[in-house]
Structures are given as structure tokens and as C-alpha cells.
């Protein structure tokens, strides 16, 4: 394991920012620290960088314990949320700073800086000051500056937060490709699940200062290990008593479970092949979602959300319709279980 973090704890006054945080990261991976704001993800990142000292616990980078090592000696590049570019220095000077501090010789610095400016696509802008750059350009400078001293680990704090939505996606892809091309082990902080799923090889989900789950985006999405993860990743409705629905009679009444929109089908009763597996519900809200209708249904006191294809007949608010729940997540002491609808497979198949 290239980065190993064991039982990190950190408090600010009375606020517990990190609670027994442990995880490992493989060399060359691009990892997202994902969580709601205040979940302690930035604190973890700053502790890795050495900008914040943990109260207890160990941090290992490449097998070496770095707790006592100064930030500049850890071989880490840090990209700050608002980039923190040196405002009175040009693009060139910003990128060169880390090398000058390390006392590299002038010719070498020039060569490296020019190489990086070329790499991040800012050729011709080297004499500009930060306030003369767009958000995306600033981010590229911050990225180049962090990479200049040749770090083995790159840490990025909300790298896309300050960029407008339109170019965010483009920059996301660019950063992902760039990091994979360079093969530098990277960790970025984000509160945007879509961003994490889109960019990261692995996701570490944090909540209230603790790590909830770590895994690939697919694992996190398909097998959430806690109700928090299931609710935070993807859209979902929390159901307190799933046993009342058709096809889930075997479940204990008080089992907490979660239903994702893609787990349910909403439509008129005649649209279903086996109506026996469906429940009745009243449509509460219909909204246009671009590629589909988003429909909220009140079913036995629970509010469920699902999508409906634009190809099918539109439904109206107040209409009584049928809902087929294909599957749901059930949580118990062991973690998540996926439970399938028992009635979905026709109990009396007719063969011709």
C-alpha cells in the first residue's frame, strides 16, 4: 500500500473533525474523499499534507511514517480550493516557486516550468498574473505548480468547486486523463457524488468525521455498506417498514430499507406483465427531467420516487397507478443486503 492511514483523530476545540480514520491507497490510484460539508474530508487531506497535525494516529507514505515530517519534505503537491496562487507572481513564477525553494539550478527550473506550461496547455500565458486568468486557467496553474517539484502524491481540495458548471465537466475529464498519464497517486476532496463517480478510481465516503465506506464507484453504488452511503450516493427514498409492500412479505416490518428510483417501475396497471407483484399508489408530483419524467408516488404512506420513459403515456397528478418494486436494500448488523421482489417471477408460469 502506498498510502496508509491508521486511526487518525483530530479535534478542533469541542468539534471532532476526524474519528478513527483508517484507509489505504494503492500507488497510482485516483481517489475521491466524498462526503457532505463538515464531514471532515478536508481535515483528512490537510493532515496528509502536514498542514494540520493529527491528535493521534499514524500516516505512512511509501512505507515511511510522515507524522513528524514537515509538509515540504513529504513529497506532496497540494492544490487548494481557491487555488491560492501567489497573486503578485506571474504564472511562470508561481510554477517555479517550489523548485526555487528546493534550490534547483536556474536552467533546470526553466526547462521544468516550460515543460509544465506546455503540459497543462497554458503556452503564451506565462507572463500573466493570476487575476488575468479565468477560473479554469487558474486551476491549471495550481495543478502545474503542485506538480513542479515532482511530488509522489497529489492532494486536491475541492478542485472543481470554484469553476462554473459548463467547463467543470471538461476540466474533470482533463484532470483525470492528466493524472492517469502522469501516474501520480492522487486524492481529491469533493462533496459532489457525480464528480466522484465520474473521476475517481476509488471513493472513500466520509460522514461526521469517520470513514463510512471505501470502494470503487460501482461497489459503492451497488453495495452500500451503511444507510448513509446508500442515501448519499445516488438518489433514494428511505422506507422504515418495507414488509408492507407486495413481494417483500418475508421482511420484518421494522427493517429499515432504501429504494432507488431505478429499482421501481411506475405505470398504469395494464402495462405490467404480472400485476400481482404491484402495489397501488397515488401520484403526488410529476416533473420533467430532460430525458424522463420524475414521478413521486404516495404508496401506503411512503413517498417513493421513480422515473418514467417519455415514450410511455404521460401520467397525471392524483391518478391511481401501479408500482412495481424490483428490489430494495435492507440494512442489518452485517451490512446491506439486496432483496428481490418474490412475486416478480410469475408463480404459475404458463408454457406454450
Amino acid at each position: 500500500m502506498y498510502i496508509e492511514v491508521n486511526n487518525l483523530n483530530k479535534t478542533f476545540g469541542k468539534f471532532k473533525a476526524s474519528k478513527e480514520v483508517s484507509f489505504t491507497i494503492e500507488k497510482g490510484n485516483l481517489v475521491a474523499l466524498l462526503g457532505p460539508s463538515g464531514s471532515g474530508k478536508t481535515t483528512i487531506l490537510r493532515m496528509l499534507a502536514g498542514l494540520e497535525a493529527p491528535d493521534s494516529g499514524d500516516i505512512f507514505i511509501d512505507g515511511k511514517r510522515v507524522n513528524k515530517i514537515a509538509p515540504g519534505e513529504r513529497g506532496i503537491g497540494f492544490v487548494f480550493q481557491n487555488y491560492a496562487l501567489f497573486r503578485h507572481m506571474t504564472v511562470y513564477e508561481n510554477i517555479a516557486f517550489g523548485l526555487q525553494v528546493k534550490k534547483a539550478n536556474k536552467a533546470k527550473i526553466r526547462q521544468r516550468v516550460e515543460e509544465l506550461i506546455e503540459l497543462v496547455g497554458l503556452k503564451g500565458l506565462d507572463k500573466r498574473y493570476p487575476h488575468q486568468l479565468s477560473g479554469g486557467q487558474k486551476q491549471r496553474v495550481a495543478f502545474a505548480r503542485a506538480l513542479a517539484p515532482g511530488p509522489s502524491v497529489l492532494l486536491l481540495d475541492e478542485p472543481f468547486a470554484a469553476i462554473d458548471a459548463k467547463i467543470r465537466k471538461e476540466l474533470r475529464t482533463w484532470l483525470k486523463n492528466m493524472i492517469h498519464k502522469l501516474g501520480v497517486t492522487s486524492i481529491f476532496v469533493t462533496h459532489d457524488q457525480e464528480e466522484a463517480i465520474d473521476v475517481a478510481d476509488e471513493i472513500i465516503v466520509t460522514n461526521l468525521g469517520a470513514v463510512e465506506q471505501k470502494g470503487t464507484p460501482v461497489e459503492i453504488y451497488k453495495k452500500p455498506s451503511t444507510p448513509f452511503v446508500a442515501h448519499f450516493i445516488g438518489e433514494s427514498s428511505i422506507i422504515e417498514n418495507a414488509g408492507i409492500f407486495k413481494g417483500f412479505k418475508d421482511l420484518h416490518e421494522d427493517k429499515k430499507s432504501i429504494i432507488r428510483p431505478e429499482f421501481i417501475e411506475i405505470g398504469r396497471i395494464e402495462e405490467f406483465v404480472n400485476p400481482l407483484a404491484t402495489d397501488r399508489g397515488i401520484i403526488k408530483n410529476v416533473s420533467f427531467h430532460g430525458s424522463s419524467w420524475e414521478i413521486s408516488v404516495d404508496m401506503k404512506g411512503c413517498l417513493l420516487t421513480g422515473y418514467r420513459s417519455l415514450e410511455k403515456a404521460p401520467l397525471k397528478v392524483g391518478e391511481e397507478i401501479a408500482v412495481l418494486i424490483h428490489r430494495l436494500y435492507v440494512f442489518d448488523e452485517q451490512g446491506t443486503k439486496i432483496v428481490e421482489n418474490k412475486l416478480k417471477v410469475d408463480p404459475m408460469p404458463v408454457y406454450i
Binding site: A49, G50, L51, A70, P71, G72, E73, I76, G77, F78, F80, Q81, N82, A84, L85, F86, R87, H88, F97, G98, V101, K102, R145, A148, P149
Partner: protein
């Protein structure tokens, strides 16, 4: 009938009245006194004027004022940067108290500031015995004047820097630290260039105040002509000796210095705005 309205929406009449009041106030409070100083200074002719300002005691007083000002400004610049740095870049208990403390000289009468030093270092003071042993004179001597000037002017630089550095945050410093820059490099290459205009502005204000300081210095100086008399004190002595035109002539020197400082101040302010 159409009503004429200015941009603020007030009728024209109010605008004229307000401008009139301001102009009247400025003329009586600022321009008239300044004009008076110049005319009075030249009241006995140019020769008398030049004589007054090239007088031995005047030059000595000017020398002392400059010395006290330079020392005080240097000390307060150092102190101001240190205080602003520790207040804005670190978290600690009692920060608010420290900020209040820095403001103290603004709220204390300069006479009291002077008395404080007399009480500490004077004949009946706490450290008099100790100072006597080493034959060091503070009160009624140059060190006392410098101390009093420092005390009165010490909020200027810190006050100017604290909000500026607070607004800039610590990210740039953290970025430099994460690249391996040491404390001195960070200060010299990141912090100082970012605050230079604010710092210069604070230094200029501090200088202006230090030059003109009267109350606190008056208490600790002892008014020894040619030795412990600063320019403002010298002016007062000349005035109380009925040497009006000499007093005004020396005053005009101080006024001129003040005007130069004012121009510098505006220049710095304009530069600072441009660099933002």
C-alpha cells in the same frame, strides 16, 4: 413643474446646502488656519523667516524630531508586522484581547501616556534605582521621547495590516509551506509582497503622527532647549515667549512636512488600488 433630482434622489437644494456647509467648514477649520500660518510666518519678512527656521535651536529640534520619528516608526513597523502576523495567521486564546490592547493608545490621552513613563522611569519610579546604577537616563532625555512616541503611534501599522491580512487568509502561505518554503522565505516572498502597499500606508500615517506628537512627549521631555525639545515643543516655547512670527515660521516647516506626507499617502493609496 419638473423637479430636478440628483442621482441620490435628493432635491438640488439639499445638495447645494450640504456642499456649502462642507466647504464653509473646511475653509474655517483647515484653509484659514493654514493661510494664517503662512502669512504670520512671513509677517516680519522673508529674512526673519529664514532666520527663524535656520536658528540653532530650531535645527536641533528638527534633528530630534526626525530621530525620534525614525526610531519610533522603525520600531512600530516591526511590531505592527509581528502583531498582525500572529493575530491573522494563528489561532490562539485571547486574540480579541490583544487586538483591544493594540488599540489602547488611540483611546488614552497622550498626557497619560507620557505620565506612565515618568511613573515607571522617573525619580520616584519603579526602575529608577536600577537605571541610576547603570547611569542611564530615560525621562527628560532622548530615550523617554522615543518611548513616548512609540507608545502613542504603535496602533497605526498593526491596524492597517490586520484587516488586510485577514482578508488575504493563510492559503498562499500554506501553499508555500507545502512546497517546502521556510518561515523566512514565506514571509519575504509571499506575505510581504502581498501587504507592501498596506504596510507603506501604515508607515506613512505612523510617521505623520510621530512628527506631530506633542502631549506625551511634552510630559517626558523636560523642555531643555537644544537637547530635549522636539519641533512641536519648540513651537510652543517660541509662542509662549511672544515670538509669534518665529513660532509660525517653524510651524510652517511642520506643515510642509505634513503636506509632503499627505501627497505620499495619496500616491500610495492610488498605487495600492491599482495593484489590486
Amino acid at each position: 413643474m419638473k423637479k430636478h433630482k440628483s442621482h441620490g434622489g435628493e432635491p438640488k437644494g439639499i445638495k447645494i446646502i450640504l456642499i456649502g456647509i462642507s466647504v464653509l467648514f473646511l475653509v474655517t477649520m483647515l484653509i484659514l488656519p493654514l493661510a494664517l500660518i503662512i502669512t504670520q510666518a512671513l509677517g516680519k519678512g522673508v529674512r526673519a523667516y529664514i532666520e527663524a527656521i535656520t536658528d540653532h535651536y530650531t535645527l536641533k529640534a528638527l534633528q530630534l524630531t526626525l530621530l525620534a520619528t525614525i526610531t519610533a516608526v522603525a520600531a512600530n513597523t516591526l511590531f505592527g508586522i509581528t502583531a498582525a502576523w500572529c493575530i491573522t495567521k494563528f489561532k490562539f486564546k485571547g486574540k480579541q484581547f490583544l487586538i483591544t490592547l493594540i488599540d489602547l493608545p488611540f483611546s488614552i490621552s497622550p498626557v497619560i501616556a507620557g505620565l506612565i513613563f515618568v511613573l515607571i522611569f522617573g525619580r520616584n519610579g519603579l526602575f529608577y534605582g536600577l537605571l541610576e546604577q547603570f547611569d542611564v537616563k530615560i525621562v527628560f532625555a532622548l530615550p523617554g521621547i522615543i518611548l513616548a512616541t512609540i507608545f502613542v503611534t504603535f496602533p497605526f501599522v498593526a491596524r492597517e495590516l490586520i484587516p488586510l491580512m485577514e482578508a488575504q487568509g493563510t492559503d498562499e502561505e500554506a501553499a508555500a509551506a507545502s512546497m517546502g518554503a521556510g518561515g523566512f522565505t514565506i514571509f519575504w516572498r509571499i506575505t510581504l509582497p502581498n501587504i507592501k502597499w498596506g504596510l507603506l500606508y501604515g508607515i506613512i500615517l505612523c510617521t505623520a503622527r510621530a512628527m506631530g506628537e506633542f502631549g506625551a512627549v511634552s510630559v517626558v521631555s523636560g523642555h531643555i532647549r537644544g537637547k530635549t525639545n522636539t519641533l512641536p515643543l519648540h513651537i510652543e516655547i517660541l509662542y509662549s515667549e511672544y515670538q509669534f512670527s518665529a513660532a509660525f515660521a517653524v510651524s510652517s516647516c511642520l506643515v510642509m512636512i505634513a503636506v509632503i506626507i499627505l501627497i505620499l499617502r495619496n500616491l500610495v493609496e492610488w498605487k495600492a488600488k491599482k495593484s489590486r
